[in-house]
Amino acid sequence: MATMNIIQAVNSALHIEMARESKVVVLGEDVGKFGGVFRATSGLYDQFGPDRVIDTPLAEGGIIGSAIGMALYGMRPVPEIQFADFIFPAFDQIVNELAKFRYRSGGQYPCPVVIRTPYGGGIRGGHYHSQSPESMFAHVAGLQVVIPSTPADAKGLLLSCLRQNDPVLFMEPKRIYRAARGEVDEGDTTIPLGKANVVREGEHCTLIAYGAMLSVIEEAANKAAEQGIRCEVIDLRTLVPFDVETLIASVKKTGRAVVVHEAPRTCGYGAELVASICERAMEYLEAPIQRVTGFDTPFPYVLEHEYLPNADRVLGAVRETLEW
């Protein structure tokens, strides 16, 4: 075990998998010599050389397209998009090519591309260095969306992504890139995709989040505990495919749920969670499920802490479910 932050954990996973599997290739803007703007690919270029760690020009469509082409040949490309906000020049390649290759070739051409990208607010980055576009991708059949919240999860989930055969958007919560530190196995330990993590058990209300919002719901759970309210805290880890059974089991126990994400509310991922829980566990619900989310605005420059969900807003929602 070693203490790592999320960047180091991602870096460790990439080192392990590149050493184990020669088909893994990393590519992106400044990922090589420079080691990535957040240093997540640091050291890879020196160890594996320019044929496996490829610096690209500014060309997101070209980066993802090249990754798709390599994947069709059985390689395992891991493109980095510097910020999730810059992924949109590649949206066509992702939505129309990457996500549908297996399907439209009748299963002949799987496309195991793992796109890594930092996402989310809280660093005063303004409109274009803060967005959380996960639901835009979760909506696209054929893609998987994975978002870790801890260093150990980042490493274990990324290793799993690199060892399966379908495209993944692996979104890294940049606000806690360095702030989240924890014990991580230095060796080769994977964490399965599609399994949520029950971080804390409780019987009064289920709190569900992913990525940087996990620490927010944990803080809310702590505050609630001081008032004798015991919350169950669930880290979703994988948005597509998501672990509906774990959520249902929890809601059957608590009868209440609060869903939290920092992306805007309308058509945010929370809507899918609420709908899925209602479809399967309506009769167990003691109160309407609450959502605590970003607002329906572009990501603000100054008012970002008013925009981002915080523990007090979550706690207010918990109370609302209890007092309903």
Binding site: E29, K33, P57, L58, A59, D85, F86, H129, V292, D296
Partner: protein
């Protein structure tokens, strides 16, 4: 350069470049002190381009830029206090504090921003020029972007559209040879950027972007050609940023000698030298300019410091046309 410029004009250009440089250096200090936060991209070293180019444009023309746009905004006439206040996120800022460093907008000066997405401004410039062409406006759209943007698909679509439709747009490429940590030679197979534009039948030329008089002359020539109905033009201005890409960038990808080499071609020092050689710049001028620039920048900082922050009630403002808004948790 000798005899190329009158004393009055020379001092004006010199002051403008000194103002932009001092402004940027002050921004760096304020960033380190925590007053400006987030992402900050400085223009130090590249001042000759904005300064020279804006002189060649009329107030009726359009300007559209990148995230490294403080210099463009100031040279276009946006008051430095409004630019600084924008960086502080204050309501007094040029975008009401909504945009920050990368999103200076000023409709009254036809300054269309501030674009944080690389190459995002190019297709927009084409659209503005198309609107002018369709409405028979005799206006030029000047579009600034970096060498890195040339690798994006948006650049190539924009070149073709502008040429195909013969649009009044001047593409001003600020080639500082780096896109973040990647040198041009590692990012583009054809490093002669003007040739790329030319391949789309956009007449293209190059100018020394460290020489303000050369930039001004070249932009005047190109603007005239565009205004005369000759369709789009592309001008590559070779330059260098002395500072890191942004305040986050450790700047470990280039040598001290390389930076020093470019500093020896410093646009401010070069103009000073030329004016001195013509005996139209005196030491008192330089100290007077320094003092007046210092005053103006400190005035800008005061505007920013004394400004106010947007109240939380305004969080939903300007997402759509004003209408009744509902607050939800």
């Amino acid at each position: 350069m000798s005899g190329a410029v009158s004393r009055e004009r020379g001092l004006e250009l010199l002051r403008e470049m000194m103002l932009i440089r001092r402004f940027e250096e002050r921004c760096a200090e304020l960033y380190s002190a925590g007053f400006i936060r987030g992402f900050l991209h400085l223009y130090v070293g590249e001042e000759a381009i904005a300064t020279g180019a804006m002189r060649a444009l009329s107030p009726e023309d359009n300007v559209i830029s990148t995230y490294r746009e403080h210099g463009h905004a100031i040279a276009r006439g946006v008051p430095p206090g409004e630019v600084m206040a924008e960086m502080y996120g204050k309501v007094e800022g040029s975008s009401g504090g909504r945009g920050g460093s990368m999103h200076i907008f000023d409709a009254s000066r036809r300054f269309y921003g501030g674009h944080a997405i690389v190459a995002g401004g190019l297709p927009v410039a084409v659209g503005m020029a198309l609107a002018d062409a369709l409405q028979n406006e005799n206006r030029v759209t000047a579009c600034f972007f970096g060498d890195g943007a040339v690798a994006e698909g948006a650049f190539h679509e924009s070149m073709n559209l502008a040429a195909l439709w013969n649009l009044p747009v001047l593409f001003l490429c600020e080639n500082n040879f780096y896109a973040m940590g990647t040198h041009l030679s590692r990012a583009q197979a054809e490093t002669n950027l003007a040739r790329k534009a030319a391949s789309y039948r956009v007449p293209a030329d190059k100018v020394d972007g460290m020489d303000v008089l050369a930039v001004e002359a070249a932009v005047r020539r190109e603007v005239q050609a565009v205004r005369d109905g000759g369709g789009p033009r592309f001008l590559e201005c070779e330059t260098y940023r002395y500072r890191a890409h942004s305040m986050y960038d450790p700047d470990r990808y280039r040598s001290k000698q390389e930076i020093e080499g470019w500093r020896r071609r410093d646009p401010i020092a070069t103009l000073k030298g030329a004016l001195r050689a013509d005996h139209i710049l005196y030491e008192e001028d330089v100290s007077a300019l320094e003092a007046s620039v210092e005053d103006e920048v400190e005035g800008a900082v005061r505007v920013a410091e004394e400004g106010s922050l947007e109240p939380v009630e305004d969080l939903l403002k300007n997402v759509y046309t004003p209408r009744e808004i509902r607050w939800r948790r």
